[in-house]
Amino acid sequence: MRVIISDETKVRFRYPARAVGIVGAVLMIVSIFLPWSYGSGALDDVGFYGAPSPLQFAFVVLPVLILLLLAIPLVGKQRLGQWAKTVAWNTSAKTASLATLATVLIGLAAIAIELKGLVNIDVGGFTALVGALLAAVATPFLPDSPEPTLARVKSPTWLQILGIVLMMAGVLFAAAFALNQTDAGAFLTFVAFLVGVVLVLRQLGVMAWIGIAGANNNRVLVLAAFATAFAFPFTQNGSDANMSIASQVLIFAAAALGLNIVVGLVGLLDLGYIAFLGAGAFTAAILSESAFSTLDFHPPFIVVVLISGTVASLLGLLIGAPTLRVSGDYLAIVTLAFGEIFRITMNNLDGNDGPNLTNGSNGIPGIPDLEFLGFNFGDAHVIFGVDIGRFANYYWLMLLVIALIIVVFMNLNYSRIGRGWVAIREDELAAEAMGVNTFALKLLAFAGGAFLAGVAGAVKAHHDVSVTPDQYVFLESAFLLAAVVLGGMGTVVGVLIGATILKLLPEKLRFFSDYRLLLFGLLMVVMMQFRPEGIVADERRQMEFHDEDEELAEEIEEELISHHAHLNPERRGFDL
């Protein structure tokens, strides 16, 4: 749905449109000093005069951006100089206005629902709504800006590094802020705000600039990302509620990265992957010091991790060896069945028929915390004056595991084995004709992916305290697969984002839990329609979805040119 406004209309209305847009932005800025709701139970208490809530303070970023984008060009083209074309002033203002309107609408809807009725919206809420509407109606009447050239502006290394650091700081702040929203409405409003900010930054060309800065300073980017993730527990002040979610996200992400090798790189559809996580968890539980452990063998955790991974990968070999010779669809069915067989077997290994390994459906509770080199993961401690709780310990452990997985994954991806895997995904017969031992490589991927899931499962057993068969149902396999597909098959960053979304949203939107599956179904349908390659696209995979897509070819070419121009001291070819 796109309203087309003719160019003549845009030229004619450019001044009134700008004026109305500015009025709208000012109204929204004013609105945060007015109460949005009667009473204070909505969002994060937005019912006060002159005292904006944290959410309102964050929100005001968007109207201020709109104001700047609309007001700065008023100084005239001469004084803007090259910046007139470097930044997409008008188009970004339009994007920001639409995003702001969406944010305001969600916020007001949340107030109306939480306080039961539209009457609870106070003068500030209406001011914001009017302002957002004015801006959203007016800005589309501004003439379109040319494509921003910000990404092509040369910048010194220190500025690029500063940009990366600022972005990471922003990510950390946003993550901490979002997680601290206990109110579902406030969380949703903030997420809408975040999506808006990201879209505006993309429109401005900031994202492309950061992308190039990141490519130029790859190590800095990776280090900054890990430093950010490492710093996260310090923002939580010892609160376990969010750290528990965060550590669960990382366990889920580690498993998803394992599945990403199988599905994303080699293209094997595994619908029973959760069984490998379960195998690791049960192995670790049985070998743990739990009073309900069924074996009298309790090696140190480092050994347990290796055993768990090995058990999982042996299961992978067991299921893979007979089935990997057949083509994709059969594999999907066999793995689906295997996932169920695993769960039912765990349910039945209760000593009634056969040995007692798992205590049946009761599973193994009371798994003690990890002990590692004399350090107990259950102990809280204080670092730099900040309380670090039990879940933060597990969070850091999983961060380490994920870092290792990423290092292995990256090295594999660009190695001989990785090339063979991608070749199998693209054309198995051709790969075979080139001398790729397809069966062995597929089996290796299957066992390797299972090993990673087994390791994640071993940590999960201690993290969760108890392991029961009903944690490993088919739905979990589906969610893992969804995380990989949603985030972007074959990429690391994408899968991490996908895993975060799929694990975080249900935790934060508990009131929605009845409709969770419906929501994910819709999300997947929308994604497949509009961005089938996932949130982050694998460079090698993009063509698969947009084959013979002229626009994309041009886009790639442009990107190459801009990248080239950026590396090249002499700017040329893009002065309009």
């Binding site: 001989r416 090339r419 063979g420 991608v422 070749a423 693209e426 054309d427 017969l429 051709a430 790969a431 075979e432 004709a433 080139m434 001398g435 790729v436 031992n437 397809t438 090698r540 995979r541 993009q542 063509m543 698969e544 084959d547 070819a553």
Partner: protein, 235 residues
């Protein structure tokens, strides 16, 4: 060098190749001619280990070849440029070539062989980091041949390299094949373009519905009435 004896290959219960025998001598260009469904591509696939034989034998350099898995066949020195090119379309030219050299581990030599391919086909060299899927048909065929050469094969099997190409591009490809022969590579060529194939070939075999009807030297077959009638469109 390559000897096929009474080979029968089947898809399910249908025999696609019904007991054919032919030989390829070292340094020769040998061509298999035939219409669609004659069993040419099936023959190549069987030699490269992608299909199993129902009966018969394949010998390569004095050793029994049939039953060897495909990746071992490549290591023994037989490369195939399959029908329809079957490039890895999303991979770059460079990665496609690296895959062609998958059976080798001598990195430095692979590098220099890659440069040789770029010398042979300059267009590939200048666009080496672009995905193969973005190339034209002729360029893709060059890449397919280049990729097959990357394993340093003793025997190179080309399946319809001229398919879908312009006459000029076909000439370029045929010249490349002759150059390869001059470099000492033995070539088994499957073609529908009989004129082009026979003018290159030392020996040609004519296949029809899974059987070899007759064979002769390339020159003689070019003048053969039966060949003229069926494959060269003469009256």
């Amino acid at each position: 060098m390559l000897e096929v004896k009474d080979m029968v290959v089947a898809y399910g219960r249908v025999n696609a190749v019904k007991g054919i025998s032919f030989t390829v001598e070292e340094g020769q260009i040998v061509t298999l001619l035939g219409t669609n469904g004659a069993g040419k591509s099936t023959t190549l696939r069987a030699v490269s280990g992608l299909l199993k034989l129902v009966s018969g034998e394949i010998w390569f350099q004095g050793a029994r070849l049939d039953g060897t898995p495909a990746h071992r066949v490549v290591e023994l020195g037989i490369a195939q440029s399959p029908e329809g090119r079957r490039l890895f379309r999303q991979m770059t030219v460079e990665d496609n070539l690296k895959l062609g050299a998958y059976s080798r581990r001598d990195t430095a030599a692979i590098r220099s062989d890659m440069d040789r391919v770029y010398d042979l086909f300059p267009v590939l060299g200048s666009r080496r980091s672009e995905p193969a899927g973005l190339f034209s048909g002729g360029e893709q065929q060059m890449l397919a041949i280049g990729r097959a050469m990357m394993s340093r094969p003793k025997l190179l099997m080309l399946d319809e390299p001229s398919m879908g190409l312009s006459p000029i591009m076909t000439q370029t490809i045929m010249k490349t094949i002759r150059d390869l022969q001059a470099d000492g590579v033995t070539i088994l060529l499957v073609e529908q373009n009989a004129q082009a194939a026979l003018s290159l070939a030392d020996r040609g075999y004519v296949l029809e519905v899974g059987q070899i009807m007759f064979s002769d030297t390339g020159r003689n077959l070019l003048g053969d009435d039966r060949v003229k009638l069926t494959y060269l469109g003469a009256d």
